[in-house]
């Protein structure tokens, strides 16, 4: 018995190798991940980025002048416009990706109070949005997600004809989200299309909201 026990002893590295030996992605999981990467990489890069990446000085003779002008224009553009736009695009990509993936709901209920009670880890009180209310369908439930690494809730709605829409809510951080329009001050939500979906971003009752509709 003692010798059998001793024979079972291996290095910690070998134990780890043994325990991870059977851990493999299934064919379906592998295909899903490869498709995710392939499909997203073939999409157009936002125009703002393309301009910066493809920028070349036109000629050596005007190197300094063109360089200075380019730098000034670039930094002014960056300071005035690029940061919020990039962040809005990042958030939009994040919520669209969440919408498309349709991950399982953690709580299935059409009752907002039930959803709030179940998602007790949220550090804010999810609201019934006045802005989103006009376009929503039947509330299906909610799940935890994140927006720019901040804990958020995804609320999913059935809008009929096999279509769905999702609403995301997260805490408002002035440093991150102050560029977003505040509907409580009469401002209009940012709106654009991404991957065939309509995305809207806004601040309402002290929360950051994003909606994705088909």
């Amino acid at each position: 018995m003692e010798s059998d026990f001793a024979m079972d002893k291996k290095s910690i590295n070998q134990h780890l190798r043994d325990s991870l030996d059977s851990a493999r992605l299934s064919d379906d999981q592998l295909a899903a991940l490869k498709s995710l990467q392939a499909n997203n990489q073939l999409q157009e890069t936002p125009p703002g980025h393309k301009v910066v990446r493809n920028f070349r000085f036109p000629s050596a003779s005007s190197f300094y002048l063109n360089g200075m002008v380019a730098c000034i224009v670039f930094f002014l553009t960056f300071i005035l416009f690029a940061q919020p736009t990039d962040l809005a695009e990042d958030i939009s990509h994040e919520v669209v990706s969440n919408h498309i993936l349709l991950k399982p709901l953690e709580i299935k209920s059409s009752d907002m109070t039930t959803i709030k009670r179940h998602l007790s880890e949220l550090q804010f009180n999810p609201i019934v949005s006045k802005v989103f209310n006009g376009m929503n369908g039947r509330l299906l439930g909610g799940r935890y997600c994140s927006i720019k690494r901040a804990l958020a809730v995804q609320l999913r709605y059935d809008t009929g004809n096999g279509k769905s829409s999702t609403l995301y809510e997260t805490s408002y951080h002035p440093k991150k989200f102050s560029f977003l329009p505040n509907v409580d001050k009469g401002e209009v939500p940012l709106e654009h299309s991404l991957q065939g979906l309509r995305v809207r971003l806004w601040i309402e009752r002290g929360l950051v909201l994003a909606s994705v509709t088909e």
């Binding site: 493999r24 999981q29 592998l30 995710l36 990467q37 392939a38 980025h49 994040e94």
Partner: protein
């Protein structure tokens, strides 16, 4: 933008990253979710063209993203405690520490109880040793730390494992 084939992960990359996720999270469901979110992060970073240096090595980028996401989850669950080894009072490290983890022989049961008590950095360290086959220098380069710091980490890990094993042999509960 048409992606360069160099930026595409191979099947082997996906499988290794999945194993890495399992090593950290301890189960395949969480590992898959971490990997999926990390691929999304990678795509976003690639589109934004930020962090270009890291994106040159997609597998490393995704691995780092898996770790960060996992730490975020632990923080959310308030289970993450970071120890800065540079600030520790380091004990003298022998050069043999580099291979010392291979010398520590334990049973499967002991491995499982030790593994459950290891933190994220320790699990990553062992993963890089055992699965990726990295040397200490390669791991130090990969994690952006000094070789001496890494050796001290190994030394402390081994000492802690020995203590845990002694306590478990004595029948005491390891906290």
């Amino acid at each position: 933008m048409i992606a360069s084939p160099d930026f595409m992960l191979s099947d082997a990359d996906y499988q290794n990253l999945f194993k890495y996720g399992v090593a950290l999270a301890g189960n395949e469901d969480d590992a898959f979710e971490l990997l999926q979110q990390s691929i999304e992060n990678f795509i976003r970073a690639q589109k934004a063209s930020c962090d270009a240096q890291n994106i040159m090595n997609p597998a490393a980028y995704v691995r780092r993203s898996i770790k960060n996401l996992f730490i975020d989850r632990l923080r959310h669950e308030q289970k993450f405690h970071h120890l800065d080894y540079d600030e520790c009072e380091l004990e003298p490290i022998l050069i043999t520490e580099e291979h010392s983890l291979e010398e520590l022989l334990i049973t499967k049961q002991e491995f499982q109880s030790c593994w459950a008590l290891m933190d994220v950095d320790e699990r990553e360290l062992l993963y890089l040793f055992a699965i990726e086959g990295y040397t200490v220098q390669e791991i130090a380069d990969d994690l952006g730390m000094k070789k001496g710091t890494l050796l001290s980490k190994i030394h402390r890990l081994k000492a802690r494992l020995r203590t845990q094993l002694e306590l478990s042999h004595e029948g005491k509960k390891v906290v």
